[in-house]
């Protein structure tokens, strides 16, 4: 190491000396002096650039972080509350919606709703359907209608809250009577008897399906029931 290199290294970093540099310093008083000069100048600069640190700085740094943390926590809970409110609102909305969609819960209410729905069209449909047509539809329920003393004037599939059912309208001697053939597996609660201001109805559970009969006259219902039970057979 020549002298120039020694000085260059000391000027670059006088604080982290290699073993080689330390060895060299020990042997050369001039270099030692040079090193000391550098350190002294550094010390002067350091003093120059050491304005008094405000006493409150450390404290205020800790305080600011504390405040920030609290703010974050508060914001977290605010978000939580907002989220909970949204969930509650949606739940309420969904509940309302489902009540609106599936307002009628029991078999009777559902049947009456269907009857009222078809009521306006009944007057125009007084032509009898052929027994073969009706039996084709009844076949889905493993049922068969034999010749009887009433006519079927309407036969169509309908939806009993998700269960595919058959909606029949019979023209009996006593008047019109509606019969629903509902599968046993359905989501409605069974009601043996039901009525409202205009109609009354009865449900009979057979081994294959539930028969719901609705009519506006008690007499029609009573006689019709017997007629239906006599003529409608379920396959075993």
């Amino acid at each position: 190491m020549d002298e120039l290199e020694v000085r260059r290294r000391l000027l670059t970093d006088p604080y982290r000396l290699s073993a080689e540099q330390q060895e060299q310093l020990k042997q050369d008083p001039d270099s030692q002096q040079f090193h000391q000069d550098i350190l002294q100048l550094d010390q002067q600069i350091r003093q120059l650039l050491s304005p008094p640190v405000p006493n409150t700085l450390e404290h205020s740094l800790l305080l600011q972080q504390h405040k920030y943390k609290q703010q974050q926590q508060k914001r977290f809970y605010q978000h939580l509350v907002a989220l909970a409110a949204s969930v509650a609102f949606l739940a309420g909305f969904a509940l309302n919606w489902s009540f609106f969609l599936y307002g009628s819960q029991s078999l009777g209410e559902n049947s009456l709703a269907h009857v009222y729905h078809e009521e306006p069209y009944m007057q125009q449909r007084m032509t009898a359907l052929s027994l073969a047509d009706v039996n084709l539809k009844l076949a889905d329920f493993d049922a068969q209608l034999s010749a009887s003393d009433y006519n079927v004037v309407f036969a169509n599939y309908c939806n009993f809250r998700g269960s595919r059912s058959l909606h029949l309208v019979l023209d009996t001697e006593q008047g019109l009577m509606t019969v629903f053939v509902v599968p046993k597996e359905n989501s409605l609660s069974f009601e043996a008897e039901f009525h409202d201001d205009k109609y009354q109805g009865r449900s009979i559970a057979t081994h294959k399906a539930i028969l719901v009969m609705v009519s506006d006259k008690a007499e029609t219902l009573q006689r019709g029931e017997q007629q239906v039970l006599n003529s409608l057979q379920f396959k075993a």
Partner: protein, 186 residues
């Protein structure tokens, strides 16, 4: 029991939180003075310097999980401070050059002669090109090694070493010129 599992989960979580809080307090305690000094140098204004240190520590707290190594914490804080300072200039283009320079001086127990020579030294220091003075200030105030300075300034080690060498050399030359001139005048 149902509460015992919840309890242990909480216990596991708490030391981590406490650990974070603890290391933040350590960072504040150990380095706030050096950061403040460095901040004063780059802002030339004690009020702004203090704000900058506040911003730096807030940013540090937000990303304290990124700090993996306690040994590199100081360099990490200095890097944040440099970024925050750059952001300050992005936000608003104020000229702080007008601010009195001798705010930086420690005026406690200084004789007029000393004050004069200190002002001279400061003048020389500021007459250096920033690319030279910057590594030197980092070495003096931050106490960083050549490698750390290289990383802080995104330079390679050789460049940093060259600049450190030139900074000291120029400063010494300037000061000898000054004293020579004074001797002649005197």
């Amino acid at each position: 029991m149902w509460w015992s599992t919840a309890n242990t989960a909480e216990k596991k979580q708490r030391p981590e939180k406490e650990q974070r809080q603890h290391s933040y307090m350590q960072l504040v305690h150990l380095y706030h003075a050096d950061l403040y000094r460095y901040s004063c140098w780059i802002c030339k204004n004690t009020d702004i310097a203090e704000d900058l240190v506040q911003d730096t520590y807030l940013r540090a707290w937000k990303s304290i999980d990124l700090l993996q190594n306690e040994a590199s914490a100081k360099a990490w804080l200095f890097t944040i401070l440099r970024h925050e300072n750059a952001r300050r200039f992005e936000r608003k283009q104020f000229q702080y050059q007008e601010v009195e320079q001798d705010l930086l001086l420690d005026e406690h127990q200084v004789s007029p002669e000393q004050l004069y020579s200190q002002q001279q030294l400061l003048k020389q220091l500021e007459s250096l090109e920033p690319e030279y003075s910057e590594p030197l200030i980092l070495q003096l105030i931050g106490g960083f090694s050549g490698d750390e300075i290289a990383q802080l300034l995104s330079l390679n080690l050789n460049t940093v070493n060259t600049r450190l060498f030139r900074a000291r050399k120029q400063l010494r030359d300037l000061l000898t010129d000054e004293s020579a001139r004074e001797r002649k005048n005197g």
